[in-house]
């Protein structure tokens, strides 16, 4: 079916569409819409010169460093009616690597998927956070350093749903972002070892429902 417009692919003209953005992470450098932040050492945010490589974030080679990217606290997305979709890959071992929505950071008003080898279950976790209270629960999907994954986080009026590769993995109904907050997309990688760690992202889409 051919659509007359991108708008009408998703929304009839009788409906005023809400905030919606998407990013392909392709081109010479990272688009200026993103704010990048380094803590403990300078990492790099470069377009991968690699087929299907997307954006490559690389940490410094020192321990306890953190690289984040978000919208510089321009928070357009609802905690009770929004969707985050991304295609990502993480080096997994000796990192805390987060992808999803936050208000400011993962441990306060957030809904993210976390890649880390530090959880003994070896699984990717869905982590949600309300007013300082965090729920962190494993999915059924094992984490590793080689697989690209499609992740989807849907913030609903009274729950947060997390899907990986089209399968609904977790539904959190408590300790979720509260309706007095606002959200922005977030990617963060924390290095827990003294060697460079990486993550990659080649697609992201966020919208309010």
């Amino acid at each position: 079916m051919a659509f007359p417009s991108v708008y009408e692919m998703f929304t009839p003209l009788t409906t005023v569409r809400k905030q919606h953005f998407w990013e392909y992470f392709s081109g010479a450098t990272l688009n200026s819409r993103w704010t990048t932040t380094n803590s403990g050492g300078a990492g790099t945010y470069t377009m991968a010169d690699e087929v299907d490589g997307g954006l490559l974030i690389t940490t410094p080679t020192s321990i306890n460093t953190q690289q984040n990217m978000d919208f510089g606290d321009k928070r357009n997305f609802s905690p009770t009616g929004s969707v985050f979709i991304a295609v990502v890959k993480s080096s997994w071992t000796n990192v805390y690597n987060d992808f999803g929505f936050t208000n400011t950071q993962p441990n306060a008003q957030s809904a993210i998927f976390r890649w880390t080898s530090h959880n003994s279950d070896g699984k990717i976790h869905l982590l949600t956070c309300g007013s300082g209270i965090t729920e962190d629960v494993a999915t059924s999907v094992s984490g590793n350093a080689t697989d690209w994954s499609n992740i989807k986080i849907e913030c609903k009026s009274s729950s947060v749903e997390g899907s990986i590769n089209g399968v609904l993995e977790r539904t959190h109904s408590t300790q979720i972002p509260t309706n007095d907050t606002k959200l922005q997309p977030y990617v963060g990688i924390y290095n827990t070892v003294g060697s460079a760690k990486t993550c990659q992202i080649r697609y992201m889409e966020c919208y309010n429902t």
Partner: protein
């Protein structure tokens, strides 16, 4: 009705491959995304104004009233090559303006972000002095292996939709969704590629290339 672009383009549960889309709208070209190379008198369109977007989408055109023969300009992705040389689709809406003696414009995907074409790993289209017909333009990454295969459509000065696609050994250029031409010499890229738009001056008269839509993806 699905609400996400992702679900419109990918089957449920599919991990999408690399894609890029540019509608070339706005105040200026996005230089976080695009790199320039060559004698970039081409980067300023409309006779010395600072407009990149003029006449519809982005335009590559010599910057003042006095084009210099032998000069060229390229827009590309600064050698960030995320697209497969063997399984890709590129789609562009382009318009060439000029007479065939004035120069040549090519677009599609290629290995290098500079003006390298001979041995440059190109899978594109060409308008202008390469051929009187709109033609598929491909090269291997070995010098001298250049293939220009003509369609049945004369080079003109109006917008056409172009789609270049390769799956395995064959490269096909589809024009306006109807007329297709298949590369037959086997001179095709072998390494990863990036999108590009290119102009070259044969003489001191103006020619230009407009593009108001670009999409490239791996299949």
């Amino acid at each position: 009705m699905t609400k996400s672009i992702y679900d419109q383009l990918n089957a449920s549960g599919t991990v999408a491959k690399q894609r890029t889309v540019d509608t070339f709208s706005g105040d200026q070209i996005d230089f976080t995304q695009w790199s320039t190379s060559g004698d970039f008198g081409f980067n300023l369109a409309n006779y010395g104004s600072s407009e990149f977007y003029n006449g519809g989408g982005v335009i590559l055109k010599w910057y003042n009233a006095n084009p210099v023969a032998g000069r060229e300009g390229v827009l590309a992705y600064d050698n960030k090559r995320q697209f497969s040389p063997t399984n890709f689709v590129w789609i562009m809406n382009c318009k060439w303006t000029g007479t065939r003696t004035s120069g040549v414009s090519r677009f599609g995907i290629k290995r290098y972000s500079d003006g390298t074409f001979n041995g440059g790993g190109v899978a594109g289209a060409t308008l202008g002095s390469d051929n009187a017909k709109i033609s598929a333009y491909t090269t291997n990454e070995t010098g001298g292996q250049i293939s220009v295969v003509a369609s049945t459509i004369d080079v003109d000065n109006v917008y056409h939709n172009y789609k270049g696609a390769r799956s395995g050994s064959a490269y096909t250029l589809l024009i306006d969704g109807v007329t297709s031409v298949t590369e037959t010499n086997g001179y095709l890229p072998v390494n990863a590629s990036q999108p590009f738009l290119y102009c070259y001056n044969n003489d001191t008269t103006h020619h230009s290339l407009n593009c108001n839509y670009l999409e490239v993806y791996n299949t």
